[in-house]
């Protein structure tokens, strides 16, 4: 059972304070939806949880161990940022091959894309895809399955209803396997998720 705890977290970006005394606890099997206005610090919070931002006040701990001191922490989460991490001049297949090398895991991409109805696009250049299709391919990274946390930054942007529901299903399945999901979103999601917080 994992417990991710955020205690008295405050963070400044330049001169402005974007996060002010945030306190949150999230346990295995839960999904936390972070909501807030543009510039309220949703992405900053995810980047703190992903150990990219290290200069902040307060404490973030996993099972009572500060994430800044936990050497194994970075191998436990999968971060999907707002950028798609795709090379426009390469085909989907080649992009996925490059991901396999970085993630050190070889997936059966054809089969997985078939499940998402994207298999017919596998040899198309990413540059020729719509934003929604790019987002779907970007979310394909969730199939790398050795992670205990998913940190998703605006994952529903550009997705149609079918793909939104498919992602919600994926998140629920991950929760059932005791995974923790923290996502930022400004759209009204079905009340299937466990926690919602406004920052």
């Amino acid at each position: 059972m994992n417990v991710l705890k955020i205690e008295d977290l405050s963070c400044k970006r330049g001169e402005s304070k974007v996060l002010n005394n945030i306190n949150l606890t999230i346990k295995s099997g839960e999904t936390l939806v972070i909501k807030g206005r543009n510039g309220s610090g949703k992405t900053t919070l995810l980047r703190i949880l992903s150990n990219f931002i290290t200069s902040y006040q307060g404490k973030v701990s996993l099972n009572d161990l500060n994430i800044l001191e936990d050497n194994l922490y970075n191998n436990k989460f999968n971060l999907i940022g707002q950028k798609n991490s795709l090379k426009d001049n390469l085909s989907i297949k080649k992009n996925l091959e490059l991901w396999d090398i970085i993630f050190n895991e070889t997936l059966d991409h054809a089969k997985l894309l078939e499940h998402d109805n994207l298999d017919h696009l596998i040899n198309r250049d990413v540059g020729s895809l719509s934003d929604g299709q790019k987002k779907c391919i970007s979310l394909h990274r969730l199939n790398y399955n050795k992670y205990e946390f998913w940190f998703l930054d605006e994952p529903f942007v550009y997705l149609d209803e079918v793909n939104t529901n498919s992602l919600i299903e994926k998140i629920n399945r991950f929760n059932k396997n005791m995974g923790i999901v923290i996502l930022t979103s400004n759209i009204n999601l079905p009340k299937k998720f466990h926690k919602e917080v406004n920052i």
């Binding site: 980047r47 992903s50 150990n51 990219f52 931002i53 290290t54 200069s55 050497n71 970075n74 989460f77 971060l79 940022g81 707002q82 950028k83 798609n84 991490s85 795709l86 090379k87 426009d88 001049n89 390469l90 080649k94 091959e97 490059l98 991901w99 090398i101 970085i102 993630f103 050190n104 990274r141």
Partner: protein
């Protein structure tokens, strides 16, 4: 680290046009010499020894955006940095791949170009050794400039203005035949400074 080297080599293989552009650019700069200064063999020899360094410097400058900026702009740098928390390993892998992809091809064609410019075997070997050693130092400099200007868009001119003065010692000593030891010293100094500054630049990006 080996994963990253493999990934960058595969990426360059998939976008092989970039590699041909750099080689063509290098050759074309050298080809300009006889057009500007005539075809007298003694003059060509002398000019080649200097201009080859200018061509190398410019070839490295035009590739500087491909070191970190391309991965930064499409978001791959986030994944790479997450999977490689020891940033120094990431930096070393970039040194290796950048040199291998963009400098090695230039060194491979150097002997052919040398003979076209009437250089004998001994002179060719001397230039080859100097360029081989000096190119590492120039790659180290290009890496830290790329990391420090990460996120700043369309700054190739700024990068060139920062890099050219730093390349000057390499160009001064590179033209001398027996100065490989000085170039080695310069390259080692560049490595020590570059690995620290590049890692700092990348950490700053993460913030």
């Amino acid at each position: 680290m080996l994963n990253l080297i493999k990934r960058d080599l595969l990426l360059s293989f998939y976008s092989s046009a970039n590699f041909f552009f750099t080689v063509s650019f290098f050759v074309l700069i050298l080809i300009l010499i006889p057009f500007a200064f005539g075809t007298q063999s003694d003059q060509l020899k002398l000019l080649f020894k200097g201009v080859v360094w200018i061509a190398l410097a410019l070839s490295i400058i035009i590739t500087v955006d491909r070191i970190y900026n391309a991965d930064y702009e499409d978001g791959n740098l986030d994944i790479i940095m997450q999977k490689n928390r020891t940033i120094e390993y990431l930096v070393i892998s970039k040194y290796v791949t950048h040199w291998f992809i963009y400098c090695l091809p230039l060194l491979v064609i150097l002997p052919i170009l040398s003979f076209l410019f009437y250089l004998d075997y001994l002179e060719t070997i001397q230039i080859f050794i100097n360029l081989f050693i000096g190119s590492f130092g120039m790659v180290f400099i290009a890496n830290f400039v790329s990391a420090l200007t990460l996120g700043a868009k369309r700054t190739i001119f700024l990068k060139a203005i920062i890099m050219i003065p730093l390349f000057v010692p390499f160009i001064i000593f590179g033209s001398d035949a027996g100065s490989w030891s000085i170039l080695l010293g310069l390259s080692m100094l560049s490595f020590v400074i570059s690995i620290y500054v590049t890692a700092y630049g990348l950490r700053l990006y993460g913030e």
